[in-house]
Symmetry: C2
Subunit: 138 residues, 2 copies
């Protein structure tokens, strides 16, 4: 492991049922995210959530391991989620997957786009779907 290596999960969730639980409210969604983060074994070092009007929430949880970010568009039944964990001291990928899985369980999307990006290492090394990425040198 080196400082720069990490796992970034990107999700786009369609057809989420916002009527099922209190996901429209920033404070409720914050509590849900913080609880899921702790349960996944990740360390919270800060957070910020914002309530849009008439609807929609955006929020991030700062982790010792990097961050969780979530954005909701209830009017479209749409949510995007990012879970990014560095693997500085240990491989935290399983914790990231646990957090991602807990959140998707709350939103119950009808369809999901998912990508796993390995940050800070060879871009052809182990990416699901063999995702290439652009490498530039200054």
């Amino acid at each position: 492991m080196v400082a720069g290596q990490g796992t970034h999960l990107l999700g786009e969730w369609y057809g989420c049922d916002f009527s099922a639980i209190a996901l429209n409210d920033a404070e409720s969604l914050r509590a849900t995210c913080l609880d899921a983060t702790r349960t996944a074994g990740l360390e919270i070092v800060g957070d910020a959530f914002h309530q849009f009007q008439p609807q929609g929430v955006t929020g991030t949880v700062l982790l010792a391991e990097s961050h969780l970010a979530i954005h909701t568009w209830p009017e479209a039944g749409f949510v995007t989620v990012d879970v990014y964990v560095c693997n500085y001291l240990e491989d935290n990928t399983h914790k990231a997957m646990a957090l991602y899985g807990a959140l998707i369980g709350h939103f119950q999307p009808a369809q999901e786009n998912f990508a796993k990006v390995l940050r800070g290492r060879s871009h052809t090394d182990g990416l699901r779907g063999g995702v290439p990425r652009l490498l530039r040198s200054n």
Copy 2:
């Protein structure tokens, strides 16, 4: 434009010079990020920054358009940056690029990994480097 469409810039910066300016300090880095965000024409709705000991900062700026996230490892000269903007009312990609460019100007990395991911639309539509992504249906 639909609610789910957005542009996500992912950067990994190597060989950053942390001695050049006050990038080791959470409050200074926060001020730098907030200023760069405003200058890029993006709307700040919240933020959270955390100072690690003995070094390193992690922070996010919540945007009306989605978020900025930054993580620094001064001991390794390494920084990761995410700039994610939705394109709900207009295409904010140029603003995201402006913010990304301003921040990279502060850190002056010797090498950069960069990827642009289009969130919430066809994964083969316009991705730099032709990045494919995994599509799953529940």
